[in-house]
């Protein structure tokens, strides 16, 4: 049996974050194979395990019709077999079948979705059919085309004959209109893009974020304008990504706004070709979202044909784009997505209007730093297969080359400080230093002894798993400083005494965001003195102190979890210590070790 593979040159291009239309066509073919394999397994498993349902739903007839249609209209069948709706349904259906031994109306409704895909082929090819499809909540879905309303519950016979579509009910045969797909078609700089907007196909409800199921006329106009605008940016400045998108992205799943003005976007390994997203605030944000999600889609497909990670779960670690600890697979996906995003900003920053140039440069410097760090963590994880290691090394090689690209100083400072704050906050929240190591340091401290270098720098730690939180006000504002400096200043002005600001910031945060670092550091030290658990204050203090001003400050910025754990332990025995005093004491021990 022949297997899918990728020429080495394609794999290297993909590892570097590119891969144009020819490479993407290979990935699309692999996804079609995956869908055929899954579809056939649904039929075979249904026949083997639920023979009565298989017979009652006429699944064998539906499969036979599909094989017939493939001879009549091979390109239409190929397109439908590649639909993300089909992949998501087949994966979900097989997993659900695997969890039950009993035939049920839900199982039957699930299985008849196979017939709805065959009906879509029949309608598109203009071929007559007679298929049983389940109506769910008064709707009968034809994936990618739309849905039909019906008062009939359960199974409905759908007939297509001589161009007419009819539903057979107890009351007789009812003609129904053929649903028309909602699509956006655009063309720019000689490159076209056609994508369906699908918020209603049940299988695409796999993104764990509410969908915009009914897209009204005015909303559709907004989506159309936004996609057209994003396409202009991509077709002109990001040609390779645009070509890849035009080949592989078939469906946009509109998501409901999240209420915070953020763009929420997602992909699923089961739904190759679909990008789910809220409507971004501007064309540029959607262009970036498309590039980001394209990276996920490409990597999902590569992982379908070549294992890059072993099957072990792997240790949780820091991912610069998430506030919760992540396993190696998620880190690989994030690093790869941000490799693409870095490439996007590397070019895009030179095409920004003057008032947004800062944003472009800051995004570039921030993302290149974060993606490289994640790539290096992956290489050290021990979870990559030999092919995975080669893949990630190539990604790292590109990112390392981009570290030399010049970036204006202000953009560097703002981009990297937002990145550093995120890392410090993560460490303060999730890194737990071994209690034995902390206890040893407490003993040294109370007895007035100097710690050893091993006590200071090699204290064992572990990562605490945690749920994801939403973005924090300080984090959002540090990003807003370069994304929209005018809005940032407006918000900060409102935070002045007597202003109408409501950003939920502490006094130290306000000082930090205004650039008054010494006031911020004093404020965070005071906060740490007052509260026993204060990860925000520790992260803020690390950001506010100048790493070049002394060994205490430098040590604190490198070892927030250790200094904060020691501080808490000393507090626990009824004593008090200043955070920087402690950091200086630890730094003394560490530096003594280095001079020996």
């Amino acid at each position: 049996m022949a297997m899918h593979g990728l020429p080495r040159a394609d794999l290297l291009r993909l590892a570097g974050g590119t891969g144009g239309s020819a490479t993407l066509r290979r990935l699309c073919e692999a996804e079609r194979s995956k869908h055929i394999l899954l579809l056939h397994t649904v039929i075979a498993d249904a026949e083997l395990r639920f023979p009565e349902a298989h017979a009652a739903l006429e699944l064998a007839d539906a499969w036979r019709l599909l094989t017939h249609l493939q001879r009549r209209a091979p390109s239409i069948v190929a397109e439908v077999l590649q639909m993300p709706q089909l992949g998501a349904w087949a994966v979900g259906c097989l997993l659900r079948m695997g969890r039950t031994d009993s035939d049920s109306p839900e199982l039957r409704a699930d299985l008849t979705q196979l017939c709805s895909f065959v009906a879509v082929v029949g309608l598109r090819a203009g071929v007559d059919f007679d298929l049983l499809i389940a109506s769910v909540a008064g709707r009968l879905t034809l994936p990618g085309l739309g849905s039909l309303s019906t008062s009939v519950r359960g199974l409905v016979r759908l007939l297509h004959s001589g161009g007419r579509l009819e539903l057979m009910t107890a009351a007789g045969v009812v003609p129904v209109p053929v649903p028309r797909p909602v699509t956006v078609a655009t063309e720019h700089a000689g490159l076209s893009f056609e994508v369906g907007i699908d918020g209603s196909t049940p299988s695409l409800d796999c993104f764990r974020h509410p969908r915009l199921e009914a897209v009204g006329r005015s909303e559709l106009r907004q989506w159309c304008d936004r996609i057209t605008g994003a396409w202009r940016i991509l077709a002109v400045h990001h040609r390779s990504d645009a070509e890849a998108i035009s080949v592989s992205v078939r469906t946009v799943v509109p998501l409901k706004p999240d209420g915070f003005g953020s763009t929420v976007a997602a992909t699923s390994p089961s739904a190759f070709g679909a990008i789910a997203t809220t409507l971004p605030s501007d064309d540029l944000a959607l262009a970036e979202t498309f590039v980001h999600e394209l990276q996920h889609l490409k990597l999902c497909s590569v992982l379908d044909i070549l294992p890059l990670l072993d099957a072990m779960p792997g240790a949780l670690s820091y991912a610069p784009w998430r506030d919760d600890p992540r396993p190696p697979r998620a880190l690989l996906h994030g690093a790869y997505a941000y490799l693409g995003v870095t490439r996007f900003w590397r070019t895009q920053r030179w095409h920004m209007p003057p008032d947004q140039a800062l944003r472009g440069h800051a995004e570039f410097v921030r993302r290149r730093t974060e993606a490289l760090a994640a790539t290096e963590d992956l290489l050290a994880s021990g979870r990559l297969t030999p092919e995975g290691e080669r893949f990630v090394r190539e990604s790292g090689r590109c990112l390392r080359a981009w570290q030399r690209d010049p970036v204006p100083e202000e953009a560097r400072r703002l981009g990297l400080s937002a990145s550093f704050e995120h890392r410090m906050m993560w460490e303060a929240r999730h890194v737990a230093v071994s209690p034995e190591a902390v206890h040893k340091l407490v003993v040294h401290w109370t007895e007035g002894r100097r710690p050893t270098p091993q006590d200071c720098s090699d204290a064992p730690y572990q990562v605490r798993p945690a749920e994801r939180n939403g973005p924090r006000p300080r984090e959002r504002l540090l990003t807003l400083r370069y994304v929209d400096p005018v809005r940032f200043r407006e918000l900060m002005d409102a935070e002045r005494p007597g202003g109408d600001g409501d950003l939920d910031l502490g006094v130290a945060d306000v000082a930090l965001l205004r650039g008054d670092l010494s006031a911020a550091a004093a404020g965070y030290r005071e906060e740490i003195r007052r509260r026993s658990v204060a990860p925000e204050a520790w992260a803020g203090l690390a950001l506010a102190v100048d790493s070049g001003s002394g060994p205490a400050e430098g040590f604190l910025r490198r070892h927030v979890p250790l200094v904060s754990a020691l501080h808490a332990a000393i507090r626990g025995i009824g004593e008090a210590a200043d955070p920087l005093e402690l950091a200086g004491w630890l730094a003394g021990g560490a530096s003594e070790g280095r001079t020996r």
Binding site: L37, E293, E475
Partner: protein, 56 residues
């Protein structure tokens, strides 16, 4: 001297251009093994791949 081709573990059978009517002629155990591998991985990966772009 030419380097030997490195071993790469391709895991997905190529059915892209197969006539669907011929799929039952393929070795069923091989197909089943591929599906099991695929489903085991996809079941572990049911969490969607999210991205958030924060604007205030």
């Amino acid at each position: 001297m030419e380097q030997p081709e490195e071993v790469q573990r391709w895991i997905l059978p190529n059915l892209a251009d197969l006539q669907l009517s011929q799929i039952d002629d393929l070795p069923s155990l091989g197909l089943r093994a591929s599906v099991c591998l695929l489903l085991r991985r996809l079941e572990d990966e049911q969490e969607p791949l999210y991205s958030f772009n924060s604007n205030i």
